[in-house]
Symmetry: C2
Subunit: 237 residues, 2 copies
DNA sequence: TCAGAACTAGACCGTATAGTACCGTAGAAG
DNA sequence: CTTCTACGGTACTATACGGTCTAGTTCTGA
């Protein structure tokens, strides 16, 4: 017994910041373990014992850092949402100066879809949806930091692209939402309902992204290129 | 106490079929109560005691009709899915002979969206999503009876409309999926994540449906009518 | 009228949970 | 080396759950 792998000897591991004192390390460990367990088992199915065990921490310590199961849950969802929804924003705003909007939209769509379809994010979405009743503020946070954020940035840049004549629209927010869901809905809804037993391959995701962008450009692009906006996305799954 | 509203006196209520014997009535009551409790609290959060109490039935009786909590859950989800996904199919296939495809697509989209956005169905979707891990077959059932069914019917009729020249497409399954999600995604995802605190009004839903159809026709319609495919859906809360 | 089936009420079992109390120990600061 | 704080381990409380069992009651069908 007690054959734990000596989490940190007298010399702290290089990956741990030197100013991260023991208490902070424990807190991190608890957060990580809680994220894991909550994402895997949901809120009611997760037990504090399991979280403490996975974090290699006594339950007492867990309750010293987080007063409640509720507040621990809120914390891990908030931070998971934060760390999940950052770096696409820049790529969207850069689209304003694109000289090949079609190509850049395709690239952006692929990036967005790959991001949303990462297993961690899918689990997080499932978790937030299932607990939206008990934790309404987490649903709001997820929406605002996730699709809301993306669509707001898209709307802004679509507005300018429309002024430039690169897109035809009179409601940029609506167009942004249509873009977003044309790209994401098919694989996202399949993943939500069919589980991740047969996860979509990156190639399939790229095809869905491309097909969504083609449809979007058919609806909101300049009036050229009037071939049918599809080219077989494989309709996998 | 015991001021219950006398579920059925010696003379059975007219709403109850006369040939519905006591056992069948009890079974119905259990199913109804279970549906209620499961939809409200989720699978782990629902207790058999609460279900039995709500059904005004002893726990023993509940276990006589359904061997397990699991099987009771499966039953109620299956039958809820069945009763939810029926009567749109006909309207879709009739679309084949439409002489005003645009108007009929708008009408169909409104019907579909109103159906999907009913609170019961939204709760059911949430429940299935959150339990897709524990009950993969229920996720499959929901998908096949719900969006899968709709999209399959749409694909079939879109195929024929394309032959007739009323639509331009070369992948009817993809086009059907795009139609479906253009119409549904915005309010559906809002409802999933933001809860039903501010449920979308029927008028808002109609606007979302119309906007989705306009975008769809911009992408897949005949090459006429090249004004911007939007007309303000209100982008409600 | 009467036997048997179906029901009720509630005790009961084993287990699991959230959260707390106790106490001995390890690590950092002086 | 001492001291103080945080931690580990674990037993504990109180509660809740799924599921079973018993004993008494009500309904159904002939």
């Amino acid at each position: 017994m007690d054959n734990r792998p000596v989490r940190a000897g007298p010399t702290p591991e290089p990956s741990e910041l030197p100013d991260e004192r023991r208490s902070a390390r424990k807190r991190r460990a608890i957060l990580d373990a809680a994220t894991d367990v909550f994402l895997r088992n949901g809120y009611p199915g997760a037990s504090m014992d399991e979280i403490a065990a996975l974090a290699r921490v006594s339950k007492q310590t867990a309750y010293k850092h987080f007063s409640d199961k509720r507040s621990l849950f809120s914390e891990i969802v908030s931070s998971a949402v934060d760390e999940a929804g950052d770096p696409v924003h820049d790529e969207i705003v850069e689209l304003e100066n694109s000289c090949d909007v079609e190509a850049d939209l395709h690239h952006l769509a692929r990036q967005l879809l790959r991001r949303v379809m990462r297993p961690r994010i899918l689990q997080l979405r499932r978790l937030v949806i299932s607990e939206a009743g008990r934790f309404p503020e987490l649903g709001r946070t997820f929406y605002e930091q996730g699709p809301g954020r993306t669509m707001a940035a898209l709307a802004e840049v679509f507005e300018r692209l429309a002024v430039r004549g690169a897109l035809r629209l009179d409601d940029s927010v609506l167009a942004a939402a249509h873009f977003n869901w044309l790209v994401m809905s098919i694989p996202l809804n399949q993943a939500m309902l069919l589980g991740e037993d047969q996860p979509a391959t990156p190639a399939q995701l790229d095809r869905y992204a491309d097909a969504g962008v083609r449809a979007f450009l058919g609806a909101y692009g300049q009036a050229k290129r009037r071939s049918a906006p599809t080219a077989s996305a494989g309709q996998g799954g």
